[in-house]
């Protein structure tokens, strides 16, 4: 059974088209990434799934049931992209307040989450308005996950988290998968999605560009490599397997590489290099890949 099934989802805000004919499914026990730049429609999709926004066309089902049902939300944990916590409540008070909505689902993961996310007892006693953005984000994660939901919907969950806590968050997510839970999270950072997801849907300007496994995505992705050579530029770079395009400006070469990077690295290793830049691929690189334009 699919955890989430979306068919022909369309949303218009007046004349503005936020989503157009988006369809995909999320399997049970999967970590599914929803990738796209700011304004692509990721948050709109999540809000429609949660019943906060009404679709103009199309359908959404969660565990085979109508997504509008409030009962289904017992099995969902949702972390909005931007949210407000009641500032005059303490961290502990807030966690317990939201638990009261699910009295039949005890907070079995609360202690584990508090430890993994490094939330100090002093943070729990302090009023929320005096907490840092990162700590508030952690509290949001605890609220979303403490009842061990079958489906986690997370909108940019690692925003404001330091790298160590991001790592802990990834471990928590992977642990959930081992317990047959489904995770659906949106992000505009490719590396974040690459690190944990098995599949990813790529959204741009409200339209689905692709739904791929991470492995296929890596194989298809065109990545940029910039090398400054000490001596003359080797003449055979453009013919190295994987190189789709090259641009030479003096001693500096930019190469576009798809798939296996080892052949070009072996070729470059045979020469003297002054500088070597192989940046993390950006979303635009992915879009260019799928629109068949490079650089």
């Amino acid at each position: 059974m699919y955890s989430v099934s979306i068919k022909n989802l369309t949303k218009h805000y007046g004349k503005i088209r936020a989503l157009h004919d988006v369809s995909f499914t999320v399997d049970e026990g999967e970590i599914f990434g929803y990738l796209g730049p700011n304004g692509a429609g990721k948050t709109t999709t999540l809000r429609i799934i949660m019943g906060l926004v009404y679709a103009s066309h199309g359908s959404v089902q969660i565990f085979g049931n109508d997504h509008q049902s409030s009962a289904i939300r017992n099995d969902i944990g949702y972390l909005p992209g931007e949210f407000h916590l009641y500032g005059n409540m303490t961290g502990q008070g807030l966690i317990e307040y939201f638990q009261q909505f699910r009295l039949q689902k005890p907070p079995v993961l609360r202690e584990q989450l508090l430890n993994a996310l490094d939330i100090q007892p002093s943070d729990l006693k302090r009023k929320v308005k005096f907490l840092s953005h990162g700590t508030k984000q952690k509290l949001g994660l605890v609220i979303a996950m403490q009842h061990d939901p079958k489906l986690l919907l997370l909108d940019e969950p690692t925003t404001g988290l330091d790298p160590l806590v991001q790592k802990s968050f990834r471990e928590i997510v992977l642990d959930r998968i081992n317990n047959r839970r489904t995770v659906f999270f949106s992000s505009h950072v490719l590396s974040e999605v690459e690190a944990v997801c098995s599949r990813v849907a790529i959204l741009r300007a409200g339209e689905l560009v692709a739904v791929e496994s991470i492995e296929n995505l890596r194989n298809k992705m065109v990545r940029r490599l910039q090398v400054r050579f000490h001596g003359s530029v080797p003449g055979n770079l453009a013919s190295v397997p994987g190189v789709t395009r090259s641009q030479i400006m003096g001693k500096e070469v930019t190469l576009w590489i798809r798939g296996d990077v080892n052949p070009i690295l072996r070729t470059i290793a045979q020469t003297e290099v002054e500088s070597f830049i192989f940046p993390e691929p950006e979303l635009e690189d992915i879009f260019l890949t799928y629109y068949n334009r490079e650089g």
Partner: protein, 224 residues
């Protein structure tokens, strides 16, 4: 005192007898306490704050998204807010009654019938519940509590002043039925013991219609 009233300009006498002091009697003065601008302002402010924060305020702050992602229906959320607000306004009315009783006791005034106290408290409750309902209607269409509260405040202010002016200026008297404050008459309740059925019908009708439409709209709108 009544002799003195005869010698003041007619419009001032109307102001004193109708709007403020109910004819300078003990009951009339007690009635004025329920129609004092400060008492009205406090009651209206409570109604406006509750209404503006119920939907627009929660959307503005971002809390609404987190709340409605919990397993509660929008109807439950809306009903909870409405019940809380109406209960609070009822408590305010009760506090007014307690204040009146304390004042009667402290100043050794003639006791009042329970029916009069009930009617005036009920009228006070209806008036501020009406402002709550009207402002709530704007709240479910809005996204910012401040804007919504300001609209509610303006409407209440206009209603109050139009009612005062229409009572003093005969050419504006036709406006009286269209102001909410026309249906709030504590002085008449204290002096004559009457709460006109039309006042109850109009105010209750406004409350039911405004809250009903607000509830329908809230269930249909996108968040935010």
């Amino acid at each position: 005192m009544n002799g003195a009233l005869q010698n003041i300009p007619p419009f001032m006498r109307a102001l004193i007898e109708q709007q403020f002091f109910g004819g300078l009697t003990q009951k009339g003065l007690l009635g004025f306490g329920w129609n004092h601008p400060i008492a009205l302002a406090i009651g209206t402010a409570v109604a406006l704050v509750f209404a503006s924060r119920a939907v627009a305020g929660e959307i503005e702050s971002g809390a609404m998204e987190l709340i409605l992602s919990q397993p509660i229906t929008r109807l439950n959320y809306f009903t909870g807010h409405v019940l809380f607000a109406l209960t609070s306004i009822a408590l305010m009315s009760l506090i007014g009654v307690c204040g009146t009783l304390i004042g009667i006791q402290v100043y050794s005034l003639a006791p009042l019938e329970g029916a009069i106290l009930f009617k005036v408290a009920f009228n006070f409750f209806l008036l501020h519940s009406t402002w709550y309902g009207i402002t709530l209607l704007f709240s479910v269409f809005g996204r910012e509590a401040g804007h919504v509260a300001f609209i509610g405040f303006l409407l209440a202010l206009v209603s109050y002043f139009v009612q005062v002016i229409a009572q003093l200026w005969t050419k504006a008297a036709f406006l009286l039925p269209y102001t909410v404050h026309t249906y709030y008459s504590p002085q008449k309740i204290f002096v004559n013991g009457e709460l006109k059925p039309i006042s109850v019908i109009v105010l209750l009708g406004l409350i039911v219609v405004s809250i009903g439409i607000a509830g329908w709209r809230f269930r249909k709108r996108d968040i935010p």
